[in-house]
């Protein structure tokens, strides 16, 4: 009788939902094709790509060395603009990280099975993004060699860090975030590493993957704890990911500076982070999908479609936050707040400047670049046609990436450069050193990701297998469902 009901549910299920893995691929097909990415011999394009990314990364590291050895002065920062690209880039990269955790944790908790095809890659992206992010707060300080003062360790000076400082919160939040992400990612990797171990031809690879596979043997007495562990990690990562960007936003929200001092920041930052993060996931996966056609069946148009929808949603949330900030400034009737929003950001030479009869804001272009990329660009995703036009999607998500960088730049620099006392107002101009460092982090990020693609399974095989029909213990290989799926598919 169990079977009877199951076939019925089966049919219901099959007609209503498009399968997550198309062309009715078998479990062994998954194993074969995902593993092959790692096993086949290194493709030319990989070497070519590395030849670009590695030098860029190295240049970035050179900029770091130069800055540390010479002083923060090699950047364009000044009084009053004490933070500029350094913290902008920090927030930018941290934000990107969030999509990974979101996909792996939150979508897991909400039983979004489609996450399985993309969570591995996006978690990797998280880690690499956080690596890049970590560089900036570390070296933006004037005396890096004294940074250990931040650690709450008993010392002969009997003095401790200031636990009230949002910067110290950052230290804890970001390091925790990185650690937990690594654990989460690794736990997920273990079964797939076992796969690679068992498929490995040469002894060496077998040995190496073997070590990291920890002797995994798929025993059910392991799976039950494993699943629990995975669930719990997902459970704690979810508040963590929300907290991290909230804490980052506290750096600004807890200050007294007009334009920073805003209670809306935490949710607004988190939304922005997810927004930017998904954009970056797509930025990476779309090319990967081209390079490895077999991924097309795993990362299907409906995945992209879903992600576009999330971008559209979060993009609109961010847009709402911008509007709300503006409204609060006006509603608070605080001239300093109004000044920052109207005369440091919005007022452009053509429309709003003349409209409010104020001169153009020095950074109006940054503000409108942000609005354009973050609020207007994603609106094209309302149409399904656009969501399935991969070229367009790729363009839009890259606009979003840029937009999110501008958002942080706008928040940090335009608030700082003209605050309370007009006498102290100034401008900020970046130097080659900080531009080089920013570009360099992209080099680092991509290099790491290329290495990841080459040596680790890009898709969580064991998880994808679960979502296949045949993984269901009540599923019967024969029966009409197949044709159904295929029909729906075509």
């Amino acid at each position: 009788m169990a079977t009877g009901t199951s076939t019925f549910e089966q049919q219901k299920a099959e007609v209503t939902r498009v399968p997550l893995v198309t062309n009715n691929r078998s479990i062994s097909w998954i194993t074969q094709n995902i593993s092959s990415i790692v096993e086949e011999k290194t493709p030319i394009w990989w070497w070519v790509a590395m030849m670009f990314t590695v030098p860029v990364a190295l240049f970035g590291l050179f900029c770091v060395a130069y800055q540390i050895s010479t002083g923060v002065g090699v950047w364009g920062e000044n009084h009053p603009v004490g933070w500029a690209w350094d913290i902008t880039n920090f927030v930018f990269w941290i934000g990107i990280g969030h999509a990974g955790t979101l996909i792996s944790a939150i979508l897991f908790l909400t039983r979004q099975k489609w996450r399985t095809s993309i969570n591995r890659a996006s978690e990797a992206m998280t880690l690499f993004a956080v690596c890049c992010a970590g560089i900036f707060p570390a070296i933006h300080v004037g005396r890096v060699w004294m940074a250990w003062f931040l650690a709450p360790i008993p010392n002969a000076n009997a003095i401790w860090p200031n636990f009230r400082s949002p910067l110290l919160w950052d230290v804890f939040a970001v390091s925790t975030y990185f650690t937990v992400s690594v654990l989460f990612w690794y736990v997920g990797l273990v079964p797939d590493l076992a796969t690679l171990r068992d498929r490995a031809k040469s002894k060496v690879t077998k040995f190496i993957y073997g070590i990291f596979a920890l002797g995994w043997r798929g025993a059910n007495r392991h799976w039950r704890h494993y699943e629990m562990a995975y669930l719990i990690l997902a459970g704690i990562s979810t508040p963590l990911v929300l907290s991290v960007h909230s804490v980052v936003s506290f750096d600004f929200a807890t200050s007294v500076l007009p334009g920073w001092h805003a209670t809306i920041f935490p949710p607004y930052f988190v939304a922005g982070a997810i927004f930017g993060g998904f954009a970056m996931v797509l930025t990476i996966l779309l090319p990967a999908r081209l390079l490895y056609p077999q991924l097309k069946d795993v990362i299907t148009p409906q995945h992209i479609d879903k992600m576009c929808k999330i971008i559209l949603l979060t993009g609109s949330i961010v847009g709402y936050a911008y509007a709300m900030e503006f409204f609060m400034a006006w509603y608070s009737a605080n001239p300093y707040e109004i000044w920052v929003f109207l005369r440091n950001r919005v007022a452009d030479p053509v429309v709003f400047g003349p409209l409010f009869n104020v001169p153009p804001a020095p950074y109006w272009w940054a503000y409108w670049a942000m609005i354009g990329c973050n609020v207007f660009a994603p609106q094209v995703f309302w149409s399904k046609k656009n969501r399935h036009n991969l070229i367009l999607v790729f363009i839009i998500v890259n606009l979003v990436n840029a937009g999110m960088w501008f958002e942080r730049f706008v928040i940090i620099v335009t608030s700082l450069h003209r605050d309370f006392l007009p006498s102290s107002w100034g401008m900020f101009h970046p130097t080659w050193a900080e531009i080089g460092l920013f570009v360099g982090t992209f080099g680092i990020f991509l290099t790491l990701f290329l290495l990841f693609m080459r040596f680790l399974p890009m898709v969580a095989m064991s998880e994808v297998k679960i979502v296949l029909p045949e993984a269901d213990p009540h599923h019967h290989p024969e029966g009409p469902s197949h044709d159904k799926t295929t029909q729906v598919q075509h």
Partner: protein
């Protein structure tokens, strides 16, 4: 089990530098100097208890101290004690010496702080009425000149380095062959030193045919001439501005560069201290072409091209019924309806308790007419007084020039000054000087003049020399060496003594002689010691009345500037003076009081004229339009323009003292030389220059880009009457409003110390003269950062003077659309020591926290430099060491591929370390900050601690640890010539600061943030004459805090 370190004895650190002094110890004059010291114990100072002998030993000691202080690693360091005790000197304890700074308008009485024999700080002499403890900017900065590593160190004969001995020999030889002195001429600076005057007479006695000329580019030649014509040559006049109810300044910047005596500023300020509603204050009318800090204080200001001031004076004379005699004027000038009438009426109404001042480089006729006006107003004996002339009249530069042209000068001795650089361009002084067979030049620096001199002799700084002077009030002041000449310099007295046929003086004997002569009988030793201890003898002659013998010349004032003919005005520079301070980093980087420019001079121009010439104010501070200012083909310069609100139309001001050709690294390539435009008949201004827009840009570093307060309640203003009606106007329409008192989410921890430090700043007596800025820099070892860094917005001043232009309309200065004629307000801005300081909570390492006596303290050694505190500081007063400003070259350095690069940006590739002499200037009680740490005003915490410790030491085994009331103060407050800044204990209701804070016009900034600053401002008041045409706009300019 512990490992014990052992160290063999090693070479002393910090010894290296002192080798030079070591050599000094060998030299003859020094040995002589030693034995001479105790002729009969006469010149030992009982009072201060320091014998001159101790100096060298103290230096030896401080060598060791310096070595210790600057050593980086811990093991091993050596302690180097003296071999012999030196009386009264206690290592690490400051000693104070009274002296005075020679200046053309009278010596400035000073007290010098020394640490282990190193002068480290200049303060005013509190006992002297002229100073009362205040100082001017120049006195404060002169300290850096003493230590200038580029000061002249060597003797030069025709460009070849020579020794002092060589020089003395050839000098003796040369003097021997001078005969009656015909062909011998001296060119000196204005200086009323009686000793110099005495030597001059002796030289004249020995060489009756010799010539003695005096030249000061900013001197009082014309003023003296006018004065002589009006009152006779025997007397000089002083004015008591404190006695004047109404002052009319005709382009006389008596609060700024024209009259540096602190007594004038103080006297003026004393009449503007309004404590409660109903108090009276004086009224100031100013007529000037450009904004000066005097103009900034004006109650009524009329902007008028300098060339029209004469016409104004005529109009005023007519109004007052003064017979202008033969003085007429070409062309006529439109003056605002009623301005002259009402001003005149106001002056008259004071029957004599008023004063009309005119710029001291205006044509003699104009100045004579002003004298006549003062006479008519009855200022004599009320505000104007006479003092006997102490200096014999001398030849002028033009007389000397003619003599040289006639080839009747064969030996020229130039004592200081720099005529090749700053003589009127029509003299072609360089050629003249080259035409002289023998030129001996005594100078602090190897400069333009020494380049065309046969002998260059390094001059001793006034802090290294024995001399004397006459202060503004006629009192006799001492100039005594605080330190041995660092570079073996000679004083002008040394040189004159040789000419007078005496040996080069070994010490104070020359001055003692003068002193003896002045003193008459009396116990010499005692009174001499007293004199050195106090630094002066009180004025013997009381100011008397002037006798006016009105004889106005017949003169025709030239046609004034107009749209066609633009005038160029040559004001004294607020920082370079006549150029003598050009190699002084503190002054180079001090922002100009009005334009806030540093490291350059700029051509000030009015918005209207600028528009007419198609010149714009740059959006990026570093890109100013370049123009060419030309009178003819060889009288022209290229200058960057700076649009200044309130500047007179058709008039350009280009300050003197810049664009030096031969100068040290600091002054190299700064500014343009306005002397090129200046001729003997246009000493102050010249009409008819051609201005061409070169369509090129030039970077100008200034510390304040935005001119308008944007309607924010920062400087709060009212007129005297408004204050009387509404004593609490400062609290009105403040937006956002201050939270009701004591409202807070949580209880604030109690500040437990018995003393709570705070400051009050009276905006009504602060002119923005920069004395406090430099004083702070000297006291707190604040580094200079160089032009490039200032452009990048990284100037390090802990204390800055914010200057705003206030006017009815909300102009957008940063767009170049200026108010044509706004008013000016100044606001000193330093760390406000907020009780709830936003900077503290954000510091992740507790590097900046609050002390129990209410200071926002900054622990440099804990700071890791996140800059978060600076971002969260509402006043942006925190300063970050972006580079290693103390250890790396500030300027450009040459490197192989890249060419000229900023030394700072090269960082570790450059040589580390600061000049040894500069180390000597550093205040040993303040940490010299390294790169990567944040710093800011500490309320001079080192002084606070000193006071507290002193009291505790005094208390010993008793419980009396309370610091005496107002027994010390911060560097800025001490330097302030007008006591506008007052520092003290606000927990003590009787302290000066508490009293000021209790006033009704006291307010703090940004109340709405609930940060409780410890710095309180007293609102600015103006006292407009209701009848004046511009009274309306002057009235109620109180910047309404936002509405």
């Amino acid at each position: 089990m512990k490992h014990i370190f052992h160290h063999p004895p090693e070479k002393a650190t910090g010894r290296k530098y002192w080798r030079s002094i070591g050599q000094l110890a060998e030299t003859k004059e020094f040995q002589g100097w030693l034995e001479r010291e105790f002729p009969e114990g006469a010149s030992e100072l009982k009072a201060d208890g320091v014998s001159r002998r101790s100096f060298l030993k103290l230096m030896g000691a401080s060598a060791a101290l310096a070595g210790m202080g600057l050593a980086a690693c811990r093991h091993p360091l050596n302690l180097v004690p003296f071999t012999e005790s030196s009386e009264w000197s206690i290592p690490g304890k400051a000693l104070f010496f009274a002296t005075s700074m020679p200046w053309r308008s009278g010596a400035e009485p000073l007290v010098i702080t020394t640490h282990d024999g190193r002068p480290t700080k200049v303060e005013g002499n509190p006992r002297h009425p002229v100073s009362s403890g205040g100082t001017g900017t120049f006195a404060q900065s002169s300290l850096l000149d003493l230590y200038d590593p580029e000061r002249s160190r060597f003797f030069y004969q025709d460009g070849e380095e020579a020794t002092a001995e060589d020089f003395e020999h050839s000098l003796d030889y040369m003097i021997g062959r001078l005969g009656d002195g015909s062909g011998l001429a001296f060119l000196a600076e204005e200086n009323a030193s009686p000793t110099r005057e005495r030597l001059r007479k002796e030289v004249l006695k020995r060489f009756p045919k010799s010539r003695w000329a005096v030249y000061e580019p900013l001197g009082n030649e014309l003023a003296d001439a006018a004065h002589a014509a009006a009152y006779g040559a025997a007397v000089t006049s002083v004015f008591n501005i404190e006695a004047a109810d109404v002052v009319l300044s005709l382009d006389n910047d008596f609060l700024g560069s024209d009259e540096v005596a602190p007594v004038v500023a103080r006297g003026f300020a004393n009449r503007r201290r309004v404590e409660k509603p109903g108090d009276k204050m004086n009224r100031l009318y100013v007529v000037e072409n450009r904004y000066t800090i005097t103009g900034g204080m004006a109650d009524h200001r009329l902007r008028l091209p300098a060339s029209q001031v004469g016409h104004f004076v005529l109009a005023l004379a007519k109004e007052l019924g003064v017979d202008a005699g033969g003085i007429t004027a070409e062309g006529n000038v439109e003056l605002p309806e009623g301005w002259v009438r009402e001003a005149a009426a106001d002056l008259r109404s004071t029957n004599g308790r008023c004063l009309v001042l005119v710029g001291n480089r205006y044509p003699v006729a104009v100045q004579q007419l002003v004298a006549a006006i003062n006479e008519k107003l009855g200022a004599q004996g009320k505000t104007l007084f006479s003092l006997p002339q102490t200096v014999e009249p001398a030849l002028s530069l033009s007389d000397l020039a003619t003599a040289i042209k006639e080839k009747s000068v064969r030996t020229l001795v130039i004592l200081g000054g720099n005529p090749v650089y700053n003589a009127p361009s029509d003299y072609n002084w360089r050629e003249l000087q080259e035409s002289i067979p023998l030129v001996i030049r005594l100078g602090l620096h190897e400069d333009e003049t020494s380049r065309v001199a046969n002998w260059h002799i390094p001059a001793a700084h006034y802090l290294e020399t024995w001399s004397d002077g006459i202060a503004y009030d006629g009192s006799y002041t001492a100039v005594q060496p605080i330190i041995l000449p660092l570079y073996n310099g000679w004083s002008e007295n040394d040189l004159l003594a040789k000419f007078a046929g005496q040996p080069k003086p070994k010490g104070s004997e020359l001055v003692q002689e003068t002193f003896r002569a002045r003193l008459g009988g009396a116990d010499f030793a005692k009174s001499w010691n007293q004199f050195l201890h106090d630094g002066f003898l009180p004025a013997t002659v009381k100011p008397g009345a002037l006798s006016y013998r009105g004889s106005l010349p017949s003169a025709k004032l030239a046609a004034p500037a107009g749209p066609g003919a633009i005038e160029i005005v040559f004001p004294a520079d607020a920082k370079m003076d006549d150029g003598r301070f050009n190699n002084n980093g503190w002054l180079q980087e001090a922002p100009d009081p009005i334009t806030k420019t540093t490291w350059d001079n700029v051509a000030w121009i009015s918005p209207k004229t600028a528009k007419e010439l198609g010149l714009k104010h740059p959006i990026h501070a570093s890109e100013h339009d370049l123009v060419e200012i030309a009178f003819d083909d060889n009288r022209k310069v290229e200058a960057a323009i700076f649009i200044v609100p309130g500047h007179a139309d058709n008039s350009i001001a280009l300050s003197l003292g810049w664009g030096r050709e031969v100068v040290g690294k600091v002054g190299e390539g700064t500014g343009v030389n306005a002397y090129r435009l200046r001729t003997s008949d246009s000493l102050y201004y010249g009409v008819g220059a051609k201005i061409t827009n070169l369509r090129r840009k030039f970077p100008i570093a200034h510390t304040q880009e935005h001119f308008s307060m944007e309607g924010r309640g920062l400087v709060r203003e009212a007129t005297l009457d408004e204050f009387a009606e509404n004593p609490t106007f400062v609290k009105d329409n403040v937006s956002p409003p201050a939270p009701p008192n004591g409202v807070s989410l949580y209880p604030h921890p109690k500040l437990t110390s018995p003393n709570q430090w705070g400051m009050a700043i009276d905006l009504n007596t602060c002119f923005g003269c920069n004395a406090c800025v430099i004083a702070c820099q000297a006291e707190n070892n604040v580094p200079i950062v160089g032009k490039e860094q200032v452009i990048n917005g990284r100037s390090m001043h802990w204390l800055r003077n914010d200057r705003y232009f206030v006017s009815d309309g909300g102009e957008e200065e940063d767009l170049g659309e200026y108010a044509s004629d706004p008013q000016m307000v100044v606001q000193p801005m330093m760390c406000q020591h907020c009780e709830n300081a936003p900077c503290e909570t954000v510091c992740p390492v507790n590097a900046t926290v609050h002390s129990d006596d209410g200071l926002n303290v900054m622990a440099y050694n804990r700071c890791i430099g996140t800059r978060y505190c600076a971002n969260n500081c509402p006043f942006k007063v925190r300063r970050f060491n972006f580079f290693d400003y103390n250890q790396r070259p500030i300027g450009k350095v040459k490197v192989p591929i890249l060419g000229e690069v900023s030394g700072l940006a090269l960082g570790p590739l450059t040589k580390k370390g600061m000049a040894d002499t500069l180390k000597m200037q550093k205040n040993p009680n303040v940490t010299v900050r390294m790169r990567g740490v944040m710093e800011k005003c500490t309320f001079c915490v080192q002084r606070i601690q000193e006071a507290r410790i002193a009291q505790k030491v005094k208390a010993g085994s008793s419980s009396d640890t309370t610091i005496p009331r107002d027994s010390f103060t911060s560097a800025c407050a001490q330097a302030c010539p007008t006591d506008a800044l007052v520092f003290g204990d606000i927990a003590d209701p009787e302290s000066r600061v508490s009293k000021l804070k209790a006033q009704q016009k006291a307010y703090t900034l940004l109340e709405y943030l609930n940060i409780n600053p410890r710095v309180t401002y007293l609102a600015r008041l103006r006292n407009p004459n209701p009848k004046m045409p511009d009274a309306k706009r002057t009235a109620s300019q109180a910047e309404p805090a936002h509405s």
